[in-house]
Amino acid sequence: MEELDCEPAITWIPGVNSKKKQMCFDWGPGEMLLCETSFSKKVDTSEKVPSCPFIYIVRKDVDVYSQILRKLFNESHGIFIGLQRIEEELTGKSRKAQLVRVSKNYRSVIRACMEEMHQVAIAAKDPASGRQFSSQVSILSAMELIWNLCEILFIEVAPAGPLLLHLLDWVRLHVCEVDSLSADVLGSENPSKHESFWNLVTVLVLQGRLDEARQMLSKEADANPSCASMCRILGDLMRTMPILSPGNTQTLTELELKWQHWREECERHLQDSTFAASPRLEALCKIMLGDEATLLEHKELLSNWYHFLVTRLLYSNPTVKPIDLHFYAQSSLDMFLGGESSPEPLDNILMAAFEFDIHQVIKECSIALSNWWFVAHLTDLLDHCRLLQSHNLYFGSNMREFLLLEYASGLFAHHSLWQLGVDYFDYCPELGRVSLELHIERIPLNTEQKALKVLRICEQRQMTEQVRSICKILAMKAVRNNRLGSALSWSIRAKDAAFATLVSDRFLRDYCERGCFSDLDLIDNLGPAMMLSDRLTFLGKYREFHRLYGEKRFADAASLLLSLMTSQIAPRSFWMTLLTDALPLLEQKQVIFSSEQTYELMRCLEDLASGRPGCGELDAQRLQDDDIETTKVEMLRLALARNLARAIIREGSLEGS
């Protein structure tokens, strides 16, 4: 596929003088920062003061921020997901029917959006925004026009015969002034005297709406008896024009034969000058014979070349084959423009469609349209029709992914539409996942709710690194704000042992300072998460000791306390606190620590007091320096000795009995 060469878009930055200065910039997740600067170190001193003291936020997809287009994005997302799930086994007619249904759904979303935009445009108070909305309406209208044609040619793949019926519907749908004109004329007191009466009749004939045209003619006949017979004859011709109707079983050859016959009759009337008395009726008859010169006299009513094309085919070659379309299209375009103007982008897109050049259609659309929505969805649908591969272009399916990735990235720039983007990335087999990974971790986590939403998305997709990172960010944020409970639960979720240790230490420090724990719920319900780090285990167990003590289960509390030290789970710096916690247990009336346990406690205390090598000189230092600590140690020694004596006596008497 050859490259389309077009100049890159220029975005003007107000205030910056590109002739004298440069710009520094930075990429953000959805936006770009820009600012005037001067990189060259040889700055003229008089230029030191910034001439443009602004920082600019530059965004990519303008349409992403439109309130009305949001509906387009939201609703087409559902259709897109449905399409991805279409059973691959579905083949033949049922598959085609389903794809056509999907295509129609997309179009009805575009139409709904267009209606709404139109209402907004009418209601707009200032003319400038009214114009903006109107131009959006015409963009949407063009999208629908192109999509509809693609649907007929590529998805429906209508054969000769039905093809023209589809094209007629297409033209009728998009050149719809006739309806309001008709209402206007019929609503007037004397329709046949209305200034637009003949325009209306002509347009109806041009669009092949012959029944309505006939009714109009009968009004003329009533009002003007002199031409009543001419009207009747022309009306009969209209009535008898053979048309392929969907339910009819006649073959194409039969139709062609009948049509030929009918056409001869029309020609005969023209030759016999049946309508010579009324040039208007004669013109209508000529139109019905597909006379090009007459058709072109009604350029204004046809309004565009593709209407001309369809009318011309209707009255000259109603059973046109798809393969011949491009020939008629090209000649219609040439005749219609008549060398007076050159084709516009829309003309080129439609022409490419008539030529069945899908890639050209997509390429031209992506250049001309202001968003990726259209090309991404249309390409995806055509890919599902297995049209891109059949063109034998090696990058066929890559183009689908390329466009979907662009569209999804654009959605991620928006504070809420990003959620739709996730699913689009999911359906990009090659780079979808890695793109999602890069985008999702940049979603600002302003609220817990949003964070949980992002996490769920990552967890569903086993994006372990993103889950870890997000939890880590939240844990760090919580620690900085001194919300220890939240910090702990996030670090557990991140499975970040080092950070869990750090937070546990904070908890223990707070306990030492304040004598109580915060976030009891969390610590009491750690469960297996406790095993994440030694310090966290200790925190959980230590809290359990407090609970047992509070429930007066002293024996259990005592053995847990001791095991915390003997198993080395408790950090040595915390032993003094633990031993102090043992004091009230030692002072209870009944004996709680057995003699054996008491020996262990004594060993722990002496270990600590003597400051064994490797156990941290700081503790020993502190013990020596601090009078209170010395007193504590003495009290402990005393309590331990007394408890030992009681325990020995009790154990002796128990054994003795």
């Binding site: 878009a9 997740p29 920082i55 600019y56 530059v58 303008v62 992914e401």
Partner: protein, 420 residues
């Protein structure tokens, strides 16, 4: 692309760098006025300056954010020969009530004897590390072993590059297959031409950085350098700002083919080279997915480069100053995002785009009864719509700063425009 907002920067001198944080909700700016400012985006989308403080005793060249896993941390580097690490303090003080935040200096990195020209945090999987480079030709890598104590940074590596360094870039790949890697560019303009881009790789065995490659073809001064996000590729993509924009791919040669233990060797290919900036290119930077490269050059433009689905690189957008002076009042108006969002702008396309081009012939006058006739004008030319957000105290948007003739920089007797 369209300008969605403009913010009065209120720096008293040239701004040298702007930097988004990881989530794009904060930004930092640094300037020759020796200060750094931090800006926060409110829920309503307005930007407010929440901190502004003097950071250095010389021009501040670069400012950059650490990954939020490490908290709210900034690094800056300056002409005053230092780099500094800053941390935001969450406090209950009056600052919070006034909507201001407080940043404290955690460390000053004073090892350089010349201007520190670039500072970059390492990819987060390496821990909290940062690299600086300086005009004396040395790249220094520092590490904060305890992320909760940012006052301790140890100098882990000093890599001598033999040439005055202007820029560094870490390879962001977190793949186990890739060792930590840093690319260094030099803007040394001395006549004895040498290759200006060197790539150093960390060797697990020697625990040192060793030179893996030198890009022999790049002999002109290099002003900026940027590895692209990896996207799971086996090879690396490196963009270079020199007298033109260049994009290289670096494909690691399979280990068994090279002598074991030594640094990885690469097959280096140039995949794109653009001289559209006409002269020097000063900055290059990748978007977050590495699909678009932006470059800024002497032509005063920022250009966007993108590879299409056939891997052809093309310019897809230009951001250009319109040269008109800033008019304080005329830009204040539109604060309605839905309005500006409806500015039809043909910015996007497969290969490029064309703003302001007519898709359909303009409709001269709306015809009676024409609803959305498809021959209506499809796209009017985009009008620049700009929202201004500014703090009350900077409501005067017209050149609020008196010119300052000379500034004294006690530490640096050297004038900045000479030989650094």
């Amino acid at each position: 692309m369209f300008v969605a907002r403009s913010i009065a920067a209120d720096h008293k001198d040239l701004i040298h760098d702007v930097s988004f944080d990881f989530h794009g909700r904060r930004m930092a700016t640094c300037s020759s006025d020796q200060s750094v400012k931090v800006w926060d985006k409110s829920e309503s989308g307005d930007w407010h300056c929440t901190a502004s403080w003097k950071t250095h005793s010389g021009s501040v060249w670069r400012v950059t954010w650490a990954h939020p896993e490490f908290g709210q941390v900034l690094a800056s580097c300056s002409f005053d020969r230092t780099a500094a690490v800053w941390e935001e303090i969450v406090g209950e003080s009056n600052d919070k009530l006034r909507g201001q935040s407080h940043w404290v200096k955690r460390t000053t990195l004073v090892d350089s004897r010349t201007s520190v020209t670039d500072v970059k945090f390492a990819p987060k999987h390496m821990g909290l590390m940062l690299a600086t480079c300086s005009a004396d030709g040395i790249v220094r890598i520092y590490e904060a072993p305890d992320v909760m104590n940012l006052s301790q940074w140890s100098l882990q590596h000093e890599i001598s590059c033999k040439l005055s360094c202007s820029c560094i870039s870490w390879n962001p790949s977190s793949s186990r297959a890739h060792s930590p890697m840093i690319a260094v560019g030099s803007d040394d303009s001395s006549p004895n031409a040498m290759a200006k881009v060197q790539i150093f790789e960390y060797n697990e065995n020697t625990r040192k950085y060793a030179k893996a490659e030198t890009l022999m073809t790049v002999t002109d001064p290099v002003h900026d350098i940027a590895f692209a996000p990896n996207l799971g590729r086996s090879f690396h993509i490196l963009a270079i700002a020199t007298k033109d924009v260049r994009i290289f791919t670096l494909k690691p040669v399979r280990k068994e083919l090279t002598s074991s233990g030594g640094p990885t060797k690469f097959e280096i290919h140039i995949v794109a080279q653009f001289d559209n900036h006409n002269s020097q290119v000063w900055r290059v930077s990748w978007n977050i997915t590495g699909t678009v490269l932006a470059s800024s050059g002497d032509d005063g433009c920022v250009r966007l480069w993108k590879a299409n689905y056939m891997d052809n690189w093309k310019c897809t957008g230009i951001l250009k100053g319109n040269g008109s002076p800033v008019n304080g009042t005329s830009q204040l108006g539109n604060s309605n995002p839905s309005l500006s969002s409806n500015t039809p702008n043909l910015q996007n396309s497969l290969h490029g785009s064309s703003a302001g081009r007519y898709f359909f012939p303009p409709l001269d006058s709306p015809r009676a009864g024409s609803r959305w006739s498809s021959c209506a004008q499809l796209l009017p030319p985009p009008a620049p719509l700009v929202e201004h957000s500014c703090d009350a105290d900077s409501a005067n948007l017209q050149y609020p700063h008196p010119r300052r003739g000379d500034r004294s920089r006690p530490l640096n007797p050297l004038p900045e425009n000479e030989g650094v």
